[in-house]
Structures are given as C-alpha cells and as structure tokens.
Symmetry: D2
Subunit: 367 residues, 4 copies
Amino acid sequence: MSGSTYGTIFRITTWGESHGAGVGVVVDGCPAGLSLTEADIQVFLDRRKPGTSRYSTPRKEGDQVEILSGVFEGKTTGTPISLLVRNTSQRSADYSEIASYYRPGHADMTYDMKYGFRDYRGGGRSSGRETIGRVAAGAIAVKILNSLGIQLFTYTRSIGPVKIHPERFQIEETSLNPLCMPDAAAAQEASEYLDGLMKEGDSAGGVIECIIRGMKPGVGDPAFEKLNANLGKAILSIGAVKGFEIGDGFAVARARGSQNNDPYAYTSDGTLEKLANHSGGILGGISDGSDIIFRAAIKPTPSISMEQDTVNKSGENIRVRIKGRHDPIIVPRAVVVVEAMAAITLLDMLFASIPSRMDNLIRFFNK
Amino acid sequence: MSGSTYGTIFRITTWGESHGAGVGVVVDGCPAGLSLTEADIQVFLDRRKPGTSRYSTPRKEGDQVEILSGVFEGKTTGTPISLLVRNTSQRSADYSEIASYYRPGHADMTYDMKYGFRDYRGGGRSSGRETIGRVAAGAIAVKILNSLGIQLFTYTRSIGPVKIHPERFQIEETSLNPLCMPDAAAAQEASEYLDGLMKEGDSAGGVIECIIRGMKPGVGDPAFEKLNANLGKAILSIGAVKGFEIGDGFAVARARGSQNNDPYAYTSDGTLEKLANHSGGILGGISDGSDIIFRAAIKPTPSISMEQDTVNKSGENIRVRIKGRHDPIIVPRAVVVVEAMAAITLLDMLFASIPSRMDNLIRFFNK
Amino acid sequence: MSGSTYGTIFRITTWGESHGAGVGVVVDGCPAGLSLTEADIQVFLDRRKPGTSRYSTPRKEGDQVEILSGVFEGKTTGTPISLLVRNTSQRSADYSEIASYYRPGHADMTYDMKYGFRDYRGGGRSSGRETIGRVAAGAIAVKILNSLGIQLFTYTRSIGPVKIHPERFQIEETSLNPLCMPDAAAAQEASEYLDGLMKEGDSAGGVIECIIRGMKPGVGDPAFEKLNANLGKAILSIGAVKGFEIGDGFAVARARGSQNNDPYAYTSDGTLEKLANHSGGILGGISDGSDIIFRAAIKPTPSISMEQDTVNKSGENIRVRIKGRHDPIIVPRAVVVVEAMAAITLLDMLFASIPSRMDNLIRFFNK
Amino acid sequence: MSGSTYGTIFRITTWGESHGAGVGVVVDGCPAGLSLTEADIQVFLDRRKPGTSRYSTPRKEGDQVEILSGVFEGKTTGTPISLLVRNTSQRSADYSEIASYYRPGHADMTYDMKYGFRDYRGGGRSSGRETIGRVAAGAIAVKILNSLGIQLFTYTRSIGPVKIHPERFQIEETSLNPLCMPDAAAAQEASEYLDGLMKEGDSAGGVIECIIRGMKPGVGDPAFEKLNANLGKAILSIGAVKGFEIGDGFAVARARGSQNNDPYAYTSDGTLEKLANHSGGILGGISDGSDIIFRAAIKPTPSISMEQDTVNKSGENIRVRIKGRHDPIIVPRAVVVVEAMAAITLLDMLFASIPSRMDNLIRFFNK
C-alpha cells in the first residue's frame, strides 16, 4: 500500500533510503504567499543532524536541502514544494555483513517477510534518514503555524532513569545542551549515565514532551479524526516510538474523576478559563485553546556493540556485535522529528476545521 | 471536516447521537460471501450494553441491531452493510439543566467553540453511544479475522490501583466478571475499590490490554502507515483514551538496548522465532507474526455526583453535581470498543498489504 | 474496496439495494448551523420519484425521507446527518426469473464475476434506487451553495434525435413538462418520439446539461484535482452515463485555437470579463467565475420488452423479454441526480480551496 | 488543497514547474520485486518529448530521468520510487512579457485568482511539463499491467476534421508517424491540415482513443468508484482534455436500447462472451473482461501566433500575439499521457479489487 503520504489538506510525501541517491519530500497543499528559503528548512535539518556531539554518530551527513519546486521569487506558489537532500556519506561496504543476518530490534526480518527481500544498506527505508523529509516538511508547517500565533516547544523529558525537574525547567536551556533537555542539571546527569552505557556498548531510551501554545480552539473532530488520535498516529509513525500519551496520559488510569476533571471559571475580566489542564488541551477530540501537551516514549537504539543472539540466512543461530559507531540514544535527534510531525498534523487539522460553521463560511466567501 | 469515516479498504462510517432517532454504521468494503446475521453483531453489542452490573448505568438501552442492506440470503454481497440501532430509553428532560453550563471533563465547551452550539442532550455525538457503530462494525471485522486464523483477546488490565496478576491470569475469567478482568481476585478487589468510590460520588480510570494472536507477518507499512501508528490512532479515537502503548510501551524509556532488543533463534525444526517480545509483535511498523500486544489508558468517568466548579452561560462561576446515575468506571464497557477498533484496523491493513509483492500478485491474478 | 463514500471534506456515504429494508446516505462534514428539515430533502427526492408520468415506471415508491441524526432544533449540528428512505413497493417475485439469466445492458454478469453471486432482486446495488442517497445528500449541498450565492440549473438537452432549440430555451419550462426540457416544443416532440418507441418495446437515450451560475473563482486544483476532473468523475459515477464534456466538449476536437480561446476584456467599469465561454467556466482545472457548463450522455434504458439474445445459468443461449413496466427513458429522472452529484462536488472543492492563500488564512484565523 | 497525489493503493505524487530546477514524481505502493531501470521509463518519456517533428516545439528538453530511490540491485523494493527530470532548456527571458497580461485559453487568470500571484514562466505548474511525472509513473504501471497480461493501445483518432478510417486501421502504424495515427493515409492528410494552420498561426484539436486488452473482469466498484468514473477523472485531469467517453459514448444519446445493449452468448466451447461491445468493456462500473475502449477530446493549443484580444495588468484592453514556437497541436504528445493515466488508474483499481470475495482472501492468506 501507499504508506508514504501523510495528511489530507496539508499533505507530505516522503521518499528515500539511507544509501540511495538521496532522501526527500514533496509538500503539497502549502498555501501560496509564504516567504520560504532553503535556510528556513536548513535550521530544522541541522537540529537532527548527526555528528554534533559525542552522543550522536560521527558519520558526516551534510544534509543540505535543495528546493526543487513550488517557490518563486522567495514565496510559495501554492503548488507542490519538492525538497531534496542528497546522500553523501555512504560507505555501503560497512553494511555488507548485515545482509547475511537479522539485527535484533531492527526491521530486517519484517522487511524480508513483507517484500521478499530488502535493501540491507543502512536499514534502507527503515533508516533514521527517512525522517529527513518529515523534518524538512515540518519546518514549513511550523513557519505557517507561527504566523498564525501558534508555538511548539519540544524537548527531552527523560533519558533512562534521569528526568527533568519541574523547578529547574528552563525552555531556553533546550538548545544549549546536546541532549535537548530544558534542565541543565538533568542534562549533566543524563550525560554521565550515557557515558556509562557507552562503555558497556549499550544504549538508552527516553521520553520526549511537546507543548503547543496558542492553539486555536475548535480544531479536531468528534469521532475518528480526534486531534489527539491524529497526533498519536503522527508520533507513533516515527520509528522507535513505543508509546504516546496526552495530558495526564497513563496516570489517568489511577486517578479519580474528581482529580482528573478540569474545572472552569470566568476570570475577573470575563474570560472563560480552565483551572487545570489534566486533559492536555483537548476534550472530546477537539482543542479547547489551552496548551496541548503530549509525550512519546522512545526505545533504546537497537544497534549496540554488545553481543546479541540472532540468526543468519544459512540457518544458523549466531552471536553478533553491530559494528560501526552508533548513537547510544535516539532521543535528542528525535526531538525535532516529533515537533515536525506534530506541526504537520496540527496544520492539516487546522485547515480541515475551517468549514465547520455556516456563519464562518458565509463570512469567508461573501467577503 | 468529515471525521466519521474510518479505514481505507475496509471502511466504516458511523453516525448518531444519544438522543436522536438512533445510531448506526455503514460498513463498506466487506468481502462478499461472509455468513452474517444480526445475531453475530448482537453478541458484540451486548458486551458493551449498560445495565448489566451495578458498575454500569441502569438506563435500559435495548440496542437491538437491524441489518438494513448488504446481506442477501444470509451472506454479505460485497456492497455496503448498513446497521441501525434505534435509541429507545431517552429521557431528554434529564439533560435540560446541562444546556445551561459546561460539565467539567466533558466536551460541552469544545463543541460550542467548534460548532457555535451543541446538541446538549446526553452529550450528543460525544456520548458513549457513538461507539455502538464501531462495535457493530467490529463484530464483522472480528468474524473475518477469525476466518483467517486471527484471534483477539481484550480485557481490563487495571482499575485504579488494582492490577491483574500474571500468575492468576485466566483469559476465560474475562467474561465471568462484570469488570472484564482475566483474574478473579483482582476483579473482586477492584469491585471493592469501586464500591468505595461510588459512596463518595467519584469515579475511577484503568487500563485495557489487547493481545492479537495468529497475526499474519508483513502487515503495516514502513513510513506513516505503520501498523502500530494506525492501531494508536484507532484506539486514541475512542473517547476517554488518554494514552496508547505497544509492547513494552513507556517502559522502554528506562530500558537498555540489550534488554529491549528481541533476539532471534531457529527452533529445532528450523522455524524462525523471537526469544522475547518486547516489541509487541511489530518491528519497523510491520507485523512479525508474533503476538501483537497493546494497552490503552482510560480516564475516570467525568460525570460524577461530587460537587465541581464550573461556569454557566449567564457568566457566573457555579458549583454543580451531575445528576442521574452514571457508570463509576468506563473501562469494562470500553473493552469491546477497543477490540472492535483494533479488529477494523488490522483487517484494513491486512487488505492493504496484499499488493506488496509482484510474485503474490502474479499468483493471484494468473491463477 | 470501499466505493460507497464520496468527497473529502463534504463527504457522503450511500448504502442500500432496491429490495432490502431501505436505502440511505450519511452526510458527513456538513457545516453546523444550516436550517434543515425533511421537507428540504423531500423536494429533491420528489424530482426523481417514479410514477409521475407515463414515461416513468408506475411502481409506487413512496420515498419518504427520515432524518435520523445530525439535526437539532431545526439546525445541522456539524455531526453526520443520516438519512433513511424505507423501501416499500417491493415485489421480489417479479424478479425471481432474472436470477437465472444475465440481462443485456445490466450489471448482472459483472456482479457475479466480482462477488461470486449477486442480489438479483431489482438489480440490487446497481438499481436506480442507489441514487436516492445521492439526491438526498445533493439537496443539502444545493442548499449550502444557494446560501453562498451559487445556483445550479439542470435539464434535459436532448432525447434521442430531439434537441432543445436555443431560441426557445426557457429555464422555467423545465419543471413544467415530465421530460424536464427547457423548451416546450422539444418536449412535445420528444414525447411523441418516446410514444413510438414504447409501442415497439424499445427505449431511448439523451443528454443532460447543467449550468452553474455564481461560482466562486479559484476553486479546483492544477493537477489531479481539477474541478472538471472531479465533476467528470461525479457524473460518470452515475449509472447509465457514458460520456462527459465541459464547455465546448468534443467539439473542441474540430475547432481551431483562434476559435476556442476565450478573449478577455475590461468592461467600462473596470470589471474583468471573458468575451466567450468555450472553456465552460474552468481554465487549468480552476474555476474562473463565469458559468460552469457541462453535459452528460445517458444511455437508453437497458430493460426493454423487445426480445434479446442472452444466456442462462444452465449453459444455454436463450432469447428473453424483460417483463414488468420500465421507464422507456432514464434521462428525466436522472436530471436531479446529475444536479446532486455536481452540487456535492462543487461544495467539497469549494471547501478544499479555502486554505490556498496565506493572506486568507491569516485573515480567517486572526479575525 | 493537496491536488498533486493520485491513486489510493498505487499512488503517485507529481511536482515541478516548467522553469524550476526540475519536475518529478514519487511512485508509492509499487510492489516489490519488479525489474526496473531508467531505460524502462525513458522509453515512455521519449514518446512525449518535444522537438521530434515539425509539429512539436523545437525547444530541446533532454528529459533524462534519474531514479533517486526505491530500486535496489535492479528491482523495486516496495518503498517509494522517486523520479527526477532536471529542467535544462530554460529561457525565462522569453516569458517576461507574459507576466504583464493574461493569455487567452491559458490558466494565467485562474492561477492569479486562486493564489494571488503566479509563476508566469512557461505556465508554471499548468505547463505541459507537469505531465512528465505522470508519464514516468505510467511507465511503471504499464510494466506491471503487462506482466499480468494486460495491454494498452493508445493513438490519435482524429485531428481537426481528419479521422482515422476503420478499414485502414493498423496499430503498428501509430509509432511510425509523428502524429501517432494508426492510419498512414489519415496521418498524411492531417499533416497537410496542420501545415495550413501553421501558416495562419493557428492550432488544431483532436481525439485520442485508448483500448485496453486482457483486462481482468470484476475490477471497479458499483457506486462512486466505478472503473469508468475513475478513468474519466484520470483523463479529464490532463490539461486540454474537454471531454471523455467510454464505449459508444455520446452516441448512446441517439441510440435505442435494442441497439445499445450487448447480447450474450456461449461459444461452442462454453465460454461466455458478449456479441457486441457498445458498453466499452464496463457494466455497472465493473470490468467485464472484454476490451475497454475510451476517448478523450483535446482542445487546440491555446498558444497561437494569431492576434488575440486580452487585457494587461495596467487595466488596458490589448491585442497580443504569443511569441515563440509552440506545437500547433497537443494531441500527439498527449497520447502517452493518456496511456499513462489510464494505466495508473487501472492498476490502482485492480489492486483495490482483490479483497472483494471471502473465498479469494482465504485462499490468499491461508496459502
């Protein structure tokens, strides 16, 4: 099936493997008249670029984006924006051994089962490079959302056992440490934890959190197209994500109704507000205008240099060590991927929400 | 936007409010030649029917399904199956007061924001009755999956602080207690916990777990249409679900790669198997043939008789008690809804996976 | 596959056979706040109702519509509108013989090939009654379009060899004769032509034309979602339609560029206008604000009482006469079906066109 | 809206303008294991390449395709195939004048109305170069169809007043003359007709016909996804197409039922066959296994060097001659575009038809 297109009105189509000619995305449904340059997109790609710290792979991936279409004299034309990132740092030889066995925790076996064979070089389409197209498209979505007054803040909430502490939370800190934690002390602690794992050849997981501020109310639909359902799909479609929760998430299972309900009150100037936000900004699948808050659980990097049990294609049970340098943690580089997918989803649903009321339609068309 | 249709090939469209003429679903894309009677569907509807225990509302909802189309001489014809359940036990008067204020934890406010007004009777489209169509369609999906050798087991994993215990796990027990727990002792304990909450006029949340056995490998797509992403959307589209996790879920955030990777081995008869299933039966978004396992976090019933802060439409901050009898817990009645949405999703993606290989296609068409 | 849902934002799902419990449609994505009663829809259903003249079957089809959901206190709520028309005048016995052979010009054979068997009573899903859901949904679409200043005029342009004459064209005449021709003399002539055919037990085809006035410019997309492409699909999805053309249609094949291009000019008050409309109101797939004009070719009723060659299921070549009274012409009753499908398509694309410009979006959301 | 993606299971996304960096397509949902090289695609691109005769523009468009992803060791991997054709022969200066006025018959005005401005160089996205992506994707679809025993024959049926003659019909002739007519004499006559028009600075239209042989029966759906409806949309989405008809098409409007119905008979070896094919291989929206035949009406090239009335952006009524050399006829180069869109549609619907019967599904999955 066609699984590489996402979105209904603002719609992206990604393509590319880690070892082909390149990776890219076609962004369709972008409104005309948005100022857009390659630099706007490059900023986002640089946030996921490897080789920027000792916790990310030293492979040099230039990841320079080229706009192939859809922009004329610095503005989007309303037609599809095709973005290309050429693959540069490919050493296919590194992967030749992988062809002969299934790496635990990777999609090697399931690709073979589905397609009959696979492009074994660097994981092919299941490579982390698949996310480059998402991030490039997300840069555009974020730019549009910002122009409508909507901001996204995405960061590492925990790495292994190390969590950020609410009292030390500083959103500006996120971009100052390589782990993208908005808490300098937690980042330092997590860094030491990772150093220990690296010595053992092991890897760590973590949790990413995203806060959306300034969201318009009334976005999302009552039944299958709930805003939280679409955010969930978007985030769970990122490789390595094993869990998604919104608002209080799994904690609601142990809460009582009297704790979990968000009371309403009018402020002194007559504004309606919620006195709490356990729901994470969404009720009945529809945004309520308060902050949307969600979290994603990211599994540890499956490529580890510790010895593991697996099988080869000659029918033997073998023990392997995955060679090459790999990130001991996926989380920091996934932060911008989570933000990108959230932005694309929000924008698409924002567009879809426009024709929900006759009065708005009449105002729009009979202007 | 049109948010009431779900699925691409096996596609359902639900409609109806708690206090209109009825609720229903159109099931499109059901293969021809499936034996189907109203009794097949009624069994599933009865699993979500209220009034069957002291933990569910005593409103009498008959919920008798009528097949309006798509079945001829006891077999599906391949054309849309329209299913209708008339609303019977409606006392709109009970809800007249609700029109004047916003119930905390409900979608009253967001509906008003989105649509400009709302059908305030019983929550309208955000009512739990919206799930009747899902369950009716799910009954059909389960029947087809069963005929292909795929089974679903869905049950309550926890209620408030009470969890089922692995050593007492008995799947047959699920249908023997009103809380749908596969552990009689836990069901007893949870029952006492709920009795206490009911005295206080409060409510509880919980976790539902689903195991899919006999799943075909190779189902799901590498990028946006990962099987886990679609299961996540399906489950998160059910009202009251605040979190979704697959396999080890949020626990992966604290795990190490060496613990989280599932090793492979050949059995003595040469069958490839995984020695663990931390991934929950899916790798790279594609089923691997082992059990698929996921969990959903369900929030406490928002309708509680304890006093709560809210606002009315006259601009006043008020305190309210939600009148009427309401379930102190949503979880047991949501079990079959989770199963239905999982089955619909699995079937749709199973169909979508067919054209993934040239050899299969040539075999299929040149039979 | 799921072929019973149409549209992306304004989306309809039809269901039902001629001899099941009923037929119906779910209209999803209808904006909230539209005044809507069953009478609004009944007017359209009555336009396709049989038994109103000697050219349509005397079967009494009551075709009374019931609104099952989505309307509260006389206004649409924004949630799905489910419409039901019970089948009443069913005499299945009339069709028992048809089960044994394939009627020429009908879909009997192709249904058997696709599904392995068929509901042979009255053509099942391929019956003209399948269009009831389309017409009911179209009534809603037309009402919304009208409130935005857009009008549709649909009529019979020709029956067999008899065409309406431009100089006698009177749109009001359309509803005054049973053949829906906006030319009283042509209607009289066509009537005599049909009388002759009926005596022979034969049937006639014809052409339906639709003019859309007041269309907003800028609707439709440059590539696959051209407005004309979607209108074409909508109309060609109506049973018995064998051709579709827009503007000058097939006549362009013999025209020269200098004749076919529509010149532009400013009027004395500075308004931009086209001096001709060979293009039928659409250029590059996008509406230009002038009248949209298209035509559909309708084949003769396949059910004729003349003797025909066919085969039975016992492997014999046989000659048959289709029993029962059938319309000698489909065209007049199809006029409202064409209008309905056009309206649904226009509305859906109108909604889809909203987010095409940043300036409009900023104005809409930052109001 | 996102109008650049087409298809549900076999899905293509095209992008690119005549004067950007290039044009291309992402083909998603291509089955794994298909042999595919750039040469397979180049053959199709060369069929639409300009500059091959005096009836097509002498601009040198190299149109060399590059496969960027989805193919590994000569076989498709099942993941998206990204195809890129760089724009080479761009002389933007030629188009600077066009920026100031609206060319009659082009989409200049409608683009401005929809998007607020336009990429005026060479028509931007409304350029004929938009079809390169379609043709490249079509080459893949045709290759798959061929491997399933399905053949497409597409050719010019008429140019202006010159039609091919049934008695001179030779399908092999199609590739031997630059007008793609399967009738050498008609090609000669049409050639003279075009020479005359070129002297006057005018242009001609025509009709393209496509025959699909070996089509599987049972493909297409009863309601909105009729095979003919989807073919119609596919063909009408090609710029310059103003009409579409299947089988006898518009001629059915003047036919009688007794002439239009296709009788059935068993051949001496018991095979069921139709004794005529007025329906064009489709009944009730479903293929019947006989030849599918459809036609498309193509308008004359709108760019003509004769003087035309139009307006400029300074508010003046002006007269213009479109400079540069343009094809006096679109038809021959559109032949392969029609074939490509037909093939993509057929393949997508063929895939969608697979899960229509329980017996087939059980056979497929329980193999």
